[in-house]
Symmetry: C2
Subunit: 350 residues, 2 copies
Amino acid sequence: MNSKPKLETVAKAAGVSTATASQVMRGVGRISEATRKKVVAAAKRLHYVRDGRAASMRSGENREIGFVIHQIANPFNAEVISGVTDQLESDGYLVSILDSRDDPERQRKNLEAFIQSSRGGLIWVPAQNTSDETFDLLAANGMPTVTFLRRSGKGRFDHVGIQNAEACGIATRYLASLGHRRIAYLGGEANYGVRTERIAGYKDALKQLGLNGPLVCESPDDKISGMRAMVELHKTSPDVTAVVCNGDMVAIGACSAINQMDMTPGCEISVTGFDDIQDAAIASPPLSTMAVSPYQLGRKLARVVLDRIQEPQMPTAVSLVPAELVVRDTTGAPQIHEWIGDSDSGICNI
Amino acid sequence: MNSKPKLETVAKAAGVSTATASQVMRGVGRISEATRKKVVAAAKRLHYVRDGRAASMRSGENREIGFVIHQIANPFNAEVISGVTDQLESDGYLVSILDSRDDPERQRKNLEAFIQSSRGGLIWVPAQNTSDETFDLLAANGMPTVTFLRRSGKGRFDHVGIQNAEACGIATRYLASLGHRRIAYLGGEANYGVRTERIAGYKDALKQLGLNGPLVCESPDDKISGMRAMVELHKTSPDVTAVVCNGDMVAIGACSAINQMDMTPGCEISVTGFDDIQDAAIASPPLSTMAVSPYQLGRKLARVVLDRIQEPQMPTAVSLVPAELVVRDTTGAPQIHEWIGDSDSGICNI
DNA sequence: GTACTTTGGTATATCGTTATACCAAGAGTC
DNA sequence: GACTCTTGGTATAACGATATACCAAAGTAC
C-alpha cells in the first residue's frame, strides 16, 4: 500500500511483460489496442509513476532542468523564473530551483546536486566569488549550462545577460539632458560584476558629458539600505541633484528617504532605478527606471538552454538584451533653489 | 573530456576496484590510508561527482527534498523557504523548489516529477482546488509528505499551519477595543481555505462583541488589488472605520489608497495586515499586523519532514502555530468627525 | 507450398552505483 | 604447526526502467 508500485507490478496486474508495459507507458512500439487499455487501466489503478532515475539512467534523457539562482526572494528573479518555466513547460521540461543565496559554498553543493541527478540542463546565476574550480566542475561533467546575468567561465558556457553599461549610460545622459550637473551612482556592493559594468557605463557617460567626476555609493540592494544610503549621500554631498540607482529596490528606498527629508523625488532630487519591477510603477511617486522585461529574459534563457541540449557541440553564444528608459515621476529638471527662494517649501518647480 | 566521469573511471585511474572506490567516496569500509588518498586524488583530478540516480536507486536514500509551493514570488514564502533550507542543510539535505503557481494541473506535474525522482521527502502547499486523486497519488507512492498552510488530504499527511481563525479574532477584538464599531474584512479570494478560516475568526469575534454583521470584500492578495478594493469599500460603505486584511500586501495597498483619498491610516480608517512581511515595518505608515515568523515556520516544517522520513510509521500530526499582534501606526481609535469639525483636514485626533 | 512481411509481443543486457558475500595474506594465540 | 582474527580489498547481484534483438503466429504473394 505504501511502497512505490513499479513497472513490474503494473505489468503483472495487466498480465503482460515489463517490456510491453514500458512500451505502453511511453506510447511507442506496436501494441494492440486491447493490451494498451489493460496496461493503462492497471497503471491508473495502482497510481503508477515511473521511476525517473532508472528511466533517465537507461535512456540518457532527463527532462528536468535546474536553475541555481542567487536570490529567490526578488521580484525580478521571480519574473524571470516565470518566463523560464512557461517556455520550458511548453517544450515538455520542468524547472526546479535552488537558491544559493549568493554563497559560493552553498552554490557548490547546489550544482553538485544537479550534476548528481544528471539534470537535463542548467541555468545558473553564478554567485559572487565563484571559484574557477566550480566552473571546471560543470564543464568536466558535460552539463549543458547557461550562465545568467553574471558572465564568467571563460566562454565555456552560453550566456544571457543585460546591456548594463549601455543602460546606465542612457540613464546618466537622460538626467544630464534634464539639466543635472552633479549625478551620483547609488547601490550595489563592491566587486559585483553587474554593478561594475553599470558603473562603467555611468562613468563613461559622465566623461563624455564633461561632468564632474564620478560619485559612487555602495549599498545592499534593498529598500532599507537604499534609504540609509540616500540620507548619507545627501548629508555628505548636498549638491547632488540626481541619482542613478543600481536597482529598483534601492531607488524606491532612496525615494522614501527623499520624501522623509521633506523633499520630492523628481524635484529637488531625481532618481532612476534599474529593472522595472512591478513595484516601480506603483511606488509613490512612480519610479523612472531602466526597464528590462524579466519575463522575456526568462523565455530567452529557456530557449538558449534548449538549443544547447539539442546541439551540445555548437559554439557557445552570448546574448545581451538592452534595457529601455521608462520615464515616470522621479525624474525632472533640477530645482533651482535660488529662483524659488525657499528650499524647504517642498514646492516643486515643474 | 565532456562525458561524465564515472566511478569506474576513477577506480581505474587509482588502480583499484569500483567497490573500493565506492567505499572511499562514502567513507565506509576498511581502506588503507594509502589507497584512500589515491582514490580521492583521482576523483578530484577527474572532477568526479557520483551519479545520485544510481546511488539512490541502489541505496534507497535520497537527500534531496522537494518543495512545491503556490507562489514563489512572495516575500513570506521566500522567508519560509529560507528557514526550511537552513534547517535541512544542517541535516545534510537539500531543498529544490517547484512553483505550481496555484494551478492544479501544473502542480500535478510537479508532484509527479518529485515522485519520479524519488525525492526523499516533500513539503507541499496544495493548490486551490487540488483533486483528491492528487493526494491519492502521493499516498500510493509512499512519499513522506508534509502539507503546509492549506490543510487537506484526509489526515494522511503531516501538516504545519497557522492559527488563522484565532489570529483574525485577535485582530478584530483589538480594533473593537480601540472603539471601532464597523469593521470590514478585506482581501483573499472566495473558496481559499486559509481565507475561510480567517474570516470565520473575524465573524466569530464580531458576533461575540455584538457588532454589526460581517462585511467581507474579495480581492487578490497584491498591492494594486488592495488599493482598488479599499477605494471601492470606502465608496460603498463609508461608515467602515477599520479593516482586517487577509494579508500584508493587501493591507499596504489599502493604506496607499487611504492616503490617496486624503486620509491617514490609523486615523480615519484603521488597518491590520497578516504575516508581517519585511515591507510591513517600513511601509508608510508602518503596518499593524498579525505576525507569524515565516523563518521559524520553515524550520518547523523541515523538522516535521525529517521526522517523517526517519519514522515513516508514526501517526500523522498537525501543528498550528499562533500569530501575534504587532501594533504599529495603522491602527488607532476611530476619528470622531463631529468633534473635529473638519473631516477633510487630514489632522489626526490621536 | 515456399518465401516473405507484418503484427504483437517477450527475453535480456544495460545504465552507474552500493550492499553483500567472499577471499587472500599477514598477525596473533596456544 | 594449526587455529582464529584482523586487515584490506574484490566479485557480483541487485535497484527499476528501457533499447535491442529476437520470436511465434498470422497474413500475403506468387
